[in-house]
Structures are given as structure tokens and as C-alpha cells.
Point group: C2
Chain length 309, copies 2
């Protein structure tokens, strides 16, 4: 049984990743800041940002063959510009070194579509891992790109097979507030008006369970380099919101055009999924309709709302 080290196991994607890794037969060892228990996995308490020495000792004992590194700053909204992005970039170095020193040879990190150049000239076509220009417009995107750049250069010397899953947009049950799908679902379920932009910006949204499944599949594969984690289907945000409105039965609460588009919001962010589909061999389980139904159902139970409301 292959031993995998997982960071970010208590996060949005990480919670689902634990399950997918266990299902694939991995012996899962989670590094968590607060400790605690995760069914079917081992938990090791360590703060990746401040405890480099303890981390190295811990990883030397665990001796994982592979590493799925999902931990990062996640402050809602603020994460685009948070200085914590610098700290997480820095923290990836002792983590990488501890892993390599312990004999690890397969590593997957979480990248982002924000690593790509977002100007309309670059992003009108689906973004491709090997041919699309990289030019992060945000500190978050730059930190993720720098993590990929430096670890790729080191991995080539160390004989580590490194891959980066570039996450596009995601949604699903148990998403924190301040994110588009969770906020709209909760507001509509409560019968509150939702003011949005025109929603013409086209995006590729993937259910979090599929995002986690894609990472587990990527880890289990021998694919290296960047791989987009997306469905391959993008649609205007207005269409996604309209689907939520229709499923909840309150499309009337959606006020399109009530808010201006952000000036730097690219009109289209679409993903080529050729690498994910053909090289990793991963196909998502949810389409947008079933994925949103799953999410809305979860929120109804969570908020203890009558199904008919």
C-alpha cells in the first residue's frame, strides 16, 4: 500500500481528497495544524508555516512515497492579495525538502487558472497547460506560479515526478461563505434578493468532489507538469446562476446587472482538459445540473429548510 502525505486535509478540496485517496488504496497521512481525527486516515499535528524542524522529523518517520500538497491561505476574497501567499510559497520549500529527504518521489501541488495570462487576447481560447502564456495578474496567482516554477526546477534535479493541478472554478457542499455559488444558494434558499453583475463572464465550474477526484487521479498517474483541473465546459456566470434559481424555484430573486463587472475580470476563462482526460484518464462525475442539485440539497439539509420552500 502506497503511503501518501496530504496537506490541507481540512480544507474544501482536502476533505474530499482524503476519501478519494483512501478509495484508491493509499495509506493516507494528513498534516493538520489543529490535529484532530479524520476517519480512515492518520493525522499528524504540525504548523507548516512555523514548524519546519518538527515537520522534517515527522516526515522522516512517515516516509511517504507521494505527497499531495493542497494547503494554502484561503481567506475569502482577501486571498487574491493576501501577504499570506508569500508565507505559503516559502512554506512549500521545507515541505518539499522534508519529503525528498525522506525518499519521496511523487508530488502533486495545487495550482490555479490565475497563473495564466488573463488578458482577452490570451484568454479568449481555452487555456492550455503547454501553450498558453503564463502571466499572473494577482499575488495569489504569482505565488502559485512561483511555487510551480521553483519546485519544478528542483524536482528535475531530485528525480521527483512533480505535477500541478491548475484549479479553475469550483463549488459544492460545505463551501464557505463569500464564494459565488454558496452565497447565491444560501440567499435564494432564504428568499433573499441577490444582486449580481450581468454575468456575461464565462467560467468553468467543477464540483469539489470532482476536483478532489481529479487530484487523486493525477497523483496516481505518472503525468508530470501542469494539468488543468476543470470540466472543459464553460458557460456565462448568468447561466449558472439561472440554473440555481430554477432548481430552487426562485429565479425572480436574481437581479442581473445590479452590480458592475469588475474592470479586471476576464470575459472568458475556459480550460483545455485534454491532459486531464486523455493523459490522466479522469472524467468528472457531475455535470453542472447534477452538481448544483447536490449542492442545493446539502444546503437545504444544513439549513434545515423544508424541501418545498
Amino acid at each position: 500500500m502506497s503511503r501518501v502525505l496530504l496537506t490541507g486535509a481540512s480544507g474544501f478540496v482536502g476533505k474530499h481528497a482524503v476519501r478519494h485517496l483512501i478509495a484508491r488504496g493509499y495509506d493516507v497521512h494528513c498534516l493538520t495544524r489543529r490535529g484532530g481525527k479524520i476517519p480512515g486516515a492518520h493525522c499528524h499535528q504540525v504548523d507548516l508555516l512555523t514548524e519546519a524542524d518538527a515537520l522534517a522529523e515527522m516526515v522522516a518517520v512517515i516516509k511517504p512515497q507521494s505527497l499531495l500538497h493542497l494547503a494554502w491561505t484561503v481567506e475569502s476574497g482577501a486571498f487574491w492579495t493576501s501577504r499570506a501567499n508569500l508565507d505559503w510559497l516559502a512554506a512549500s520549500v521545507p515541505l518539499y525538502r522534508a519529503f525528498v529527504d525522506a525518499g519521496g518521489r511523487r508530488m502533486v501541488i495545487a495550482g490555479t487558472c490565475a497563473e495564466y495570462a488573463w488578458s482577452a487576447a490570451h484568454a479568449s481560447q481555452p487555456l492550455h497547460e503547454l501553450s498558453s502564456a503564463l502571466l499572473p495578474a494577482t499575488l495569489y496567482g504569482q505565488a502559485k506560479k512561483s511555487q510551480f516554477d521553483i519546485l519544478s526546477a528542483a524536482a528535475a534535479l531530485d528525480g521527483v515526478a512533480l505535477a500541478s493541478g491548475r484549479i479553475f472554478f469550483l463549488y459544492g457542499p460545505d463551501e464557505r461563505s463569500g464564494r459565488v455559488v454558496s452565497d447565491v444558494v444560501v440567499n435564494l434558499l432564504h428568499g433573499r434578493l441577490v444582486e449580481t453583475t450581468e454575468g456575461t463572464q464565462s467560467r468553468d465550474f467543477m464540483h469539489v468532489d470532482d476536483v478532489a477526484g481529479a487530484f487523486a487521479a493525477l497523483l496516481a498517474s505518472d503525468v508530470t507538469g501542469a494539468v488543468n483541473i476543470a470540466t472543459g465546459i464553460d458557460q456565462p456566470l448568468s447561466q449558472l446562476l439561472a440554473e440555481i434559481g430554477a432548481q430552487i424555484g426562485r429565479p425572480d430573486l436574481l437581479q442581473f446587472g445590479a452590480r458592475p463587472m469588475a474592470a479586471n475580470d476576464p470575459p472568458r476563462l475556459a480550460a483545455s482538459v485534454a491532459r486531464l482526460r486523455d493523459e490522466v484518464g479522469f472524467v468528472p462525475k457531475f455535470d453542472l445540473q447534477t452538481g448544483l442539485a447536490d449542492t442545493i440539497g446539502w444546503w437545504r439539509r444544513e439549513l434545515k429548510l423544508d424541501q418545498k420552500r
Copy 2:
């Protein structure tokens, strides 16, 4: 009097930088791992690689307006591929954050010509900071590029005026062994044969005192972004070595072609110095002839060799 924080003060460039900063009227505070004293400057003992908390407290007390960050791994030869490059990239984060938190707003870091794409297609013309492609071929070059990328992105948000001095090739008194000029000078002074390549590769070599002077001038300017630190004049390595042979009076000891060229050694690495000259306003003091004479004279004194040998 403006207060500057200096890292790498005991290094090859740093030793000269202290003097140039003092000459420009800065109140110089050096962070050094081993402590010790530097005439005319304050020394603070801290290990940048392991003591992030102590560093933050120290910088909060010093409250420097500017920061010249020269410290980096310098293992001869090994530094191109040393994993310590990762550690120094990571260490630049707590240093940057401590500096910004203490109110610092002007920062200069040490970059390298190894950040540029070195293929002949890219490097046949002088490399220009704003138009030449960046594509590091080495871990060292990548770590320096990632440092520049991530600190530039953060500096833009923090209102920090960040510049990077991209060092090309350097030489001078007190250079450690394992470097081309120091090794050739010492061997010729001892009357030993020197086996070299054909020496057709063209390089821009700058005297270390000018490199340090350029950094001090860059720090004192308000120029931001990358600035090549070079003379603007490149010549075949064979010409530089022949000049050393001529000055020492032993050209006969140079065996050109005795060693093969490294396969990945680019035929030309030349620098545009328009930014350094026109924007920073810096002009080097030494040309190659006077710079080598200075270096050879230093080695004669160091090795206590008779001038006539």
C-alpha cells in the same frame, strides 16, 4: 541620514557594498550570521535561514528605510544546482515581510544573468531587462527569478519600490577559489600550467568594486524593476585570460583548448547597460585592464610574491 539594512555584508560583493553605502551617507546596519564587527557599520547577528522571529523583532527595532539584500548561497560551482537555492528563496519572504512591517519602502535584491533565456537564439544580442526572454536553465537562476517575481508582485501591493540588480560576471581581489579569474591569476602567479577551453564564449566581466558601487547607486536611485549590473562590454573569455597572462608575464602557461566547452555554455552573454547608465546614472570605474591589474596586484600582496616573479 537614511538607514539601510544590508544582508550578505561578509560576501564578495557585500564587503565592498558596505563601503559604498557608507560613502553615500547611509547609516548601515548589517545582518550577519556570525556577528563580528564591520568598521563604520552596525552588525546584528541573526541567521536568515532559521531565525525568522528574531529577525522580525530585530528589524522592527532597526526600522530601516531601505534594504539591500545580497545574501545567498555561494558554494563554488555547486551553487548552480544547490538545494540551498530553495532555502534562500524561502528566506527572502520573512526578510521582506519584516522590512515592510517595519516601514521600509525601498528594496534592492541581487538577481543574475542566469534568469535570462540562454539559448543562442535569445542570447546572441545584448540581454535587455525589459525585452529579453526570461527562462532560467539552472536552479540558481530559477530561484533568483522566483524571488524577483514574487517580491515584485508583493511590492506593488505594499508600495515598496523594488529593484533587482542582475549581476553578470564578476572578479576582483579576495575572490574565493573555484572562480575563473581568481584561479587563473593564482595559478599563473605560481608558475603553474592552466588548462582552459578555447575560450570563445563571450562574457561581460565587471570588477567587484564596481558591482558593489552599482548596487549602492541603484539603491540610492528611484529606479524599479530589473537592472543589469555589467560593464556593457563583453569579450571572449580567451581575451580576458590572455590579458591576465600578459600582465603576469606568463602567457605561455595558458593552454587554450585543453578542456572541452561545456555543452550548455551559451556562446555569448552580453548585457544592455542602458538602464544602469542612463536611469541609475552609474558608470564603472575600472576597465578590464585596470581591473585585472588591481586584482593581480592584490593577489601578489596576498601571496607575498615578489613583483618581478
